[in-house]
Symmetry: C2
Subunit: 419 residues, 2 copies
């Protein structure tokens, strides 16, 4: 894509963002009020229906391992949720059943053509026994736009969320009680057509599995080093970077290995000859500049079609904007901040590092929440990024506290949805 086209895409994204839509939904995807995509011309098939749920409880319940031994995504709870779909009858009977292997034909299209999308969200157990999810409506909406992008079936997001809540209720005892721990919820939708033609699948399967997880930083924040990556791209204009598709993940593993071999923890994906910052590893990216007069600019790249519309990204922006407009106060957050969704180049970051106006940088995502950065390998030298004494900076620290407060229930908010 030419620079002009790229710029006009960014302008379009800005317009969309300023008009208040949380996700930049592409013009070819229309969402209804319940988050379901409206497909034109499709026959009216059965949607996901929680009242049809069948539950088969395990006869051999497992024992949750000690929280201290949890490794991300390695432990799963007693049950899983499945909802089949086919092109003739639509969504079928939802089932909660004992966690166990799926039987998939070797011709199954997900195994050949990567017809898979997923979501990641967390359930928290509060001191008073309540269990909550954090902004799960955002995940259901995004999952629908992801499905539409690769011609997988869309669905009623509210109905699906009801089923997910029921699964979590049944496996509630698996949610760790320790601070910083949670239950990671992984809804996944795969194409299961039993024929290897490339096209919209005739069959699909939604499944949800649950994994108890510990804190991302068990021993306090540890800033990560980034390798400014130009040899590989995570996404490109006209590609799939704005959707949570499996295809965005496998290709990033080799670049990550190569960054690690050079002594960096993650890839900082740079785009185009200008080396625009896009994402870091599998997280959204924020940069804080100081303006010299004690005020700050909090910058993140715009939703230009290459950036995943992250729930944590949206939460950071929303909190900072409300604080800046004085309609809400995030404790300890500096008063004078400007919030920008705008392109930012490595040259700007490097220059700011040199002249002392680079305040901090951090990644934002469901797994880590906030992940501070301390240096960027770029063109053979390291760009230094300041970090506070606990690893966090003047904006990320109060924003992180507010986010975690809302997740754990210490701070009341409508982002926390009770199960």
């Amino acid at each position: 894509m030419s620079l002009n086209l790229f710029r006009s895409t960014i302008r379009a994204a800005r317009t969309s963002a300023s008009s208040g839509s949380r996700f930049m939904t592409p013009a070819y995807i229309t969402l209804s009020s319940n988050g379901r995509c409206m497909s034109t011309g499709a026959a009216k098939l059965a949607d996901i229906n929680p009242s049809r749920l069948e539950v088969v409880r395990t006869s051999q319940p497992g024992v949750p391992p000690p929280s201290s031994s949890l490794k991300f995504g390695h432990t799963f709870t007693d049950h899983m949720l499945t909802v089949p779909w086919d092109v003739v009858s639509g969504w079928g009977v939802p089932k909660i059943e004992p966690y166990g292997p799926l039987q998939l034909e070797p011709s199954c299209t997900v195994l050949h053509y990567a017809q898979t999308i997923f979501e990641g969200m967390k359930a928290y157990r509060h001191d008073d026994g309540r269990v909550t999810l954090f902004r799960p409506d955002m995940n259901m909406k995004r999952m629908n736009t992801s499905a539409a992008r690769i011609a997988l079936p869309t669905f009623d997001g509210e109905a699906m969320l009801e089923l997910i809540k029921q699964l979590i209720r049944i496996d509630k005892d698996w949610i760790p009680r320790e601070p910083g721990h949670s239950l990671y919820v992984r809804p996944t939708l795969i194409g299961t057509q039993k024929a290897i033609g490339v096209g919209p699948p005739s069959e699909a399967l939604m499944f949800v599995i649950l994994s108890p997880v510990g804190p991302y930083y068990p021993k306090g924040f540890k800033p990560v080093s980034l390798y400014g990556t130009t040899e590989f791209v995570r996404a490109a204009p006209g590609g799939t970077g704005a959707f949570k598709l499996g295809v965005n993940y496998a290709p990033g593993i080799l670049p990550q290995k190569q960054a690690a071999e050079q002594g960096y923890a993650q890839n900082l994906w740079l785009h185009g000859p200008e080396h625009y910052l896009t994402e870091v590893g599998t997280m959204n990216m924020f940069v804080v500049f100081g303006k010299g007069d004690g005020s700050y600019e909090l910058v993140t790249p715009p939703l230009d079609g290459m950036i995943l519309p992250g729930v944590t990204r949206d939460s950071v922006l929303s909190l900072a904007r409300r604080h800046a407009s004085k309609s809400y106060t995030v404790k300890d957050l500096p008063e004078q901040i400007t919030v920008s969704e705008r392109p930012v180049t490595m040259a700007e970051v490097r220059d700011a590092s040199k002249n002392g106006t680079l305040i901090e940088m951090f990644g934002a995502g469901t797994a880590a929440v906030i992940s501070p950065v301390d240096r960027i390998g770029y063109r053979g030298e390291d760009v230094h990024v300041p970090t506070g004494k606990d690893g966090m900076g003047p904006l990320s620290r109060p924003i992180w506290r507010e986010l975690v407060g809302r997740q754990t229930g210490e701070i009341k908010s409508d982002w926390s949805v009770e199960i």
Copy 2:
């Protein structure tokens, strides 16, 4: 990527092509003589070993359906081949067993992060009873470069080919006898780690399934119409277009649907502001220009990192080059041809269509072999592409006959490998 970077990538690709390498293997992937990728620093693990093969024959052999009822990729033979791999012991015991479902954990990484690569090749049954594959060494080499690109395990390509031959021998009676029919062979390699971390998988599974297929054009050639696609990309510089990964397929389905809704059969993927031709649907692309003096230029885009190094593409180029240099004669192919791997833009194609120097265009791939094109929807109008009276043009017709002759054994060649 800037235009300059894009051009220098193309220059690098040309250099590589002219130095005789069949595939442009990126600098970060090193292939040994048996096609296996050399990974640095890895412990020496067991490779694929055909002498460990275990065979369990089905007790309920199926009956091959009538050849006339075959639909691509819908029918599978009695047996399949599996070879497991894990990071501790390497490649395990190969098994030929009855065709049936795979048991995959719902946490299996292929289902979340698209850790899948595949190949497509065809086995032909000849009048004298022999069965042959067409250039299968190319597929094994490409599968290794694909594996390396997404951190799946590499393997000894010759050993793997031995196992594939044994599977085909066992299911030989499933190969249709009718002209134009064949047995489609689908090797697939998936990540099967039972934990949802994003990284090189700790476990993987190679499997091979076989599907009897009929001719792509049962009733004679039918030229396809193309939609010049700029809204979506199939590949980008720094991406995965040059590798046969599952991730290149799912994202193309929505664009194909949208092209179909506008009355076009396939996407012609155009790159950059210059609208360079890259691929058509899931095939490589050839254009023939007339030079006005009775000579022709056969053009295909270079292996610039965005183009799949197709086996049919390589075969077309190789035949045309040998014919042009008079070291071999392709029957009925015009004598005066120049063969070019060079960028070609839509402007060049449109101008040639208008001034009568566009001779023909065709896709090339394993499924269709040669697929002629009759028009391209571009910027709101149709660019007319000439086709001969049987749908094929003056270069594609003799090249297609030569390719099919070599596949069916009518023309002897070392591209045909006996099983």
